[in-house]
Symmetry: C2
């Protein structure tokens, strides 16, 4: 895995390069952030010719290691103005790895209005003009590519939102059953749209595949690692049974379920949208409560959700989406939310950013709280078609807030705050503030320790220990995001002593290396500092490592909690 594919969209050339020595041992987020930091001018316009879009599979992607099938994408984000890494399941990471592609770098911008597609295969990368699929939704795009190039073809594509360069647009990646997973956050779909690439098809027929330096050692470590995943109650039982949506009732109970655009911490309709209700609904309608987003996943927190008539409606129906349109927008009908989820997948827009944007829109009076039918209409007829209102909401929560001059706009670095109230779960607030990605729960998921008591216990309502918790988790997460591993391996890694050593053993066995735990921590620290330095050079400062004012002034029920960290306490995060 040492090929760098480079595509220049200005002069429409492609090349295959050998990775420079300093990129050896880097994968996933470590590699995308390193390349972006090295090759992208931090102050460039994110939708102009000087931004680059970089894809990199994780270090263990393509191997038999459980849950290692994630693909990182990086660029300067048009949403945050800072560096962005977003990773995704689906089939692409493993195909990249089997093809020996360490990274794909897309740079420049067409000088005409033409659109293009890329095909990756054992010979490298081919650039073609694209006409037929323009304007189509992601589902039609995937179907068309599969008809043309075969069922097994991997796909990364953008829908109408990406074509219109909406800053909440995502990039979609085909999963093993032909459904979609998303590089959701930070508007990377708009970056792909700015390069005028509608899709990337991947054909791994005849790929060299993966070489494992020490196969026996790898197998032994992999067995231990997988056992740890299965043994932990969260990754082994909770997530497989109820999906991530198990969290609705848990966060509601904790008073940390942001409700009515972050006005309350509990939602009266929580039972109607909970993981338990969803599970029963799925079973009753003949859907699948378990479904893997990529081959080799042993958690299978995805699902297939059917409509009332038993027809497929959506999959990959996540807690954050259900929270966002449920509690945050006060929509009590899970079917409305599922319909919204399906439309967002099709038009290719981040369901978290869009849900937070709708919450602000509702508070601004654009539509009533709780009106799921109007949400569906706006998604389809306004955002999907790029009307002025559609562009406002499709550009994210900050866009709605600015355009409607709202003061209660839950964003950090202009990225919408996800499904955990930082006043009542304070550790996650530190993550929102300090992550170079903007408000991102996955960057340092303190919910594990604050709420689920994984990896110890840190009282969510007190300030004590939160900065350290977030720091440790962000460092570990940056490293995990480089391996291709799903973030949910953090649950066993935090609680089961054999888990993390087994992960490191797999890395060493794969590459014939001798990494230690300390090396992994160093890697995580380096990634965070690289990202932070990019942001500082782009013009972000510690003044951007802050929650919006209203979290300090508006207490949230039931704990009447406020955000009470001083600037100095927050900035201490970077003391490492």
């Amino acid at each position: 895995m040492d090929k760098i594919l480079r595509v220049n969209m200005t002069d429409l050339t492609t090349s295959v390069e050998t990775a420079p020595i300093e990129w050896a041992g880097l994968g996933g987020r470590a590699l995308t952030s390193t390349i972006v930091a090295k090759e992208v001018e931090p102050t460039c316009h994110p939708l102009g010719p000087y931004n680059k879009l970089v894809f990199a599979p994780g270090l263990l992607s393509g191997t038999a290691a459980s849950n290692s099938g994630r693909l990182s994408a990086g660029a300067k984000s048009p949403l945050t103005g800072g560096i962005k890494e977003s990773n995704v399941g689906g089939t692409a990471a493993q195909m990249f790895a089997r093809l020996g592609i360490q990274a794909l770098i897309i740079e420049g911008m067409p000088t005409t209005d033409n659109w293009y597609s890329l095909v990756l295969d054992k010979n490298g990368v081919t650039l073609q003009e694209e006409r037929g699929l323009l304007g189509l939704g992601n589902f039609a795009v995937v179907e068309a590519i599969q008809s043309l190039l075969g069922k097994k073809t991997g796909v990364i594509c953008i829908g109408p939102a990406g074509e219109k360069l909406l800053t909440a647009a995502n990039m979609s990646v085909k999963d093993p059953s032909g459904k979609l997973r998303s590089h959701g956050r930070g508007g990377l779909g708009a970056v792909m749209g700015s390069k005028r690439i509608k899709f990337i098809a991947i054909d791994d027929e005849g790929a060299p595949g993966i070489t494992i330096a020490d196969p026996e050692k790898f197998k032994a470590a992999s067995r231990i690692f997988t056992k740890a995943m299965m043994d932990h109650p969260v990754s082994g039982q909770g997530l497989p049974t109820y999906g991530t949506n198990i969290l609705v009732n848990i966060l509601n109970e904790a008073g940390g379920l942001p409700t009515r655009n972050f006005t309350d911490g509990q939602f009266e309709g929580h039972d109607l949208i909970s993981g338990e209700t969803m599970h029963d609904t799925i079973v009753a309608r003949g859907g699948k409560p378990r479904h893997g987003c990529h081959a080799g996943c042993v958690i299978q927190c995805s699902q297939v959700y059917n409509d009332k008539d038993g027809n497929y409606l959506t999959s990959g129906f996540e807690y954050e989406t259900i929270w966002g349109f449920g509690a945050n927008c006060c929509i009590k009908d899970l079917d409305d939310i599922a319909m919204a989820d399906s439309i967002m997948d099709d038009i290719g827009i981040d369901s978290i950013e869009t849900a937070v944007a709708f919450g602000v829109a509702m508070e601004a009076g654009i539509l009533p709280f709780g009106d799921g039918k109007e949400v569906v209409r706006i998604l389809r007829d306004e955002i999907g078609k790029g009307t002025p209102l559609g562009r406002i909401i499709g550009s994210g929560a900050g866009s709605v807030g600015r355009t409607y001059s709202m003061t209660k706009v839950p964003v950090v670095k202009n990225q919408g705050i996800p499904a955990y109230d930082p006043r009542s779960v304070k550790g996650i607030g530190i993550t929102y503030c300090t992550s170079p990605m903007g408000a991102d729960h996955t960057a340092g998921y303190t919910i594990a320790t604050n709420i689920l008591n994984v990896g110890g216990q840190v009282d969510p309502l007190k300030k004590d220990g939160q900065v350290e918790l977030s720091r440790n988790l962000q460092i570990a997460t940056a490293a995990i995001d480089s391996t291709g591993m799903c973030i949910f391996i953090a649950f066993p890694a935090l609680d089961i002593p054999e888990c993390l050593p087994a992960l490191i053993d797999m890395l060493n066995a794969r590459y014939g290396a001798e990494l230690t735990g300390d090396d992994v921590v160093s890697l995580g620290k380096n990634i965070l500092k690289t990202e932070r330095n990019f942001n500082l050079a782009a013009g972000l400062t510690s003044a951007h490592d802050r929650l919006p004012e209203f979290f300090k002034t508006n207490p949230v029920a039931p704990h009447q909690a406020v955000w009470d960290f001083t600037d100095e306490e927050i900035d201490a995060f970077w003391n490492f």
Copy 2:
């Protein structure tokens, strides 16, 4: 002039305070920026309760000194996110001064949805609930206040744009003939709207008036000063005859007239919108080619522009507005632009920001270049009514650029770049980059020296001397903005040796002080540094002291000039 009026909109109280000793000798911009820097948390939400709106007349306002009738307003800008000072003619500054009001500070925010008005008079300030005038345009508001409180009543008010908190909203100030002048830039109308104040009425009946410490010295200096104003060809002849719009042909000739959203530097229709054409049209239709925006103005660069039937259409019809909708939006019909100007005055929105926003909107394909009728329709039916499209455009050029994901968006610190192309008039580009106000030609009007050969000559197309030119002018302007003087006094001040000493003599005679030229320079430097420090604390950095990328990459005809300053060269501005 030593009363500070303070209005707290949260608890609806008012108070009259004595100015603290450190504010002695400060007026206009020096005072508003000092108060904002001292009392406003730099990271606060500009439309929330922690921002403050400050008004202060200049040090010479209320005296008989020519052109001294300008009022400064300051706050944290909702457009730039930094500090803002915007000054205006009209009758208010002189009334403030005669009432002995050094500053009016409006803080807090109502806890209900009620709206209010303020009345300033010899007894202080009275706060009242306001209902009847809500939703009305500025012309109707002024008329209603005059009917109610008398023809002489001073008025500061906001129109529908300010009520809707659009970030391009301005504050309007009544001029001596009952027409309007504007605190145009930076969205201060939205700040006034956020405080929920529809208007401020001023009654100076029985005011204590102005005391001059040394009346004879004042009179003598004033005569010299006025003579210098009349003797200089720009302030004495060019501006009085053709208004500021004399610049259309001059800038077109220089290749610095930004055309078609800053694509070209010359406009084929320049003759149709020029100051010369405007002058002849005004005369032919029975309008007034000369008109003062405040009592005591000897330049009278304003005018009364009638429609084809000889009925009043607009006044205060400035070069920047005519450029903005003319060359920048390619509208060749001066009547369409005059109609747009009148509507913008009525709804209360900055004509520069809005014109630049329309240029971006045209490039985005929202409406065709050159379509003046559609501009008028959008102003009236979309911006005036706060539709989604209206809010996008009414939030300024950066808003249109972000919402439509455009890369060619002429803004600095999110404020639209005015009527002089920085590639072909490089000194003004340094002012746009470095002014703490965002892109603002008045902050350091290098056009004087680059184009009009006032105060020497610095080749507009070369980099040499531009940073120093802009620095000297910004320092001088900050000081002038504190005196209440119109910026056009810079023309004689730069060329006629007696002018500046006479200005200083007037200050000394007014206050019994002993200021020197060095003191004035120190004042200017201190103001700029105070403002810059506020911005740094608010999260702006030197990365925000930059022109947009396209100025570097897209050469502008006819000189094929690009913006070629290095970051280091720009940052050297702050070496003082």
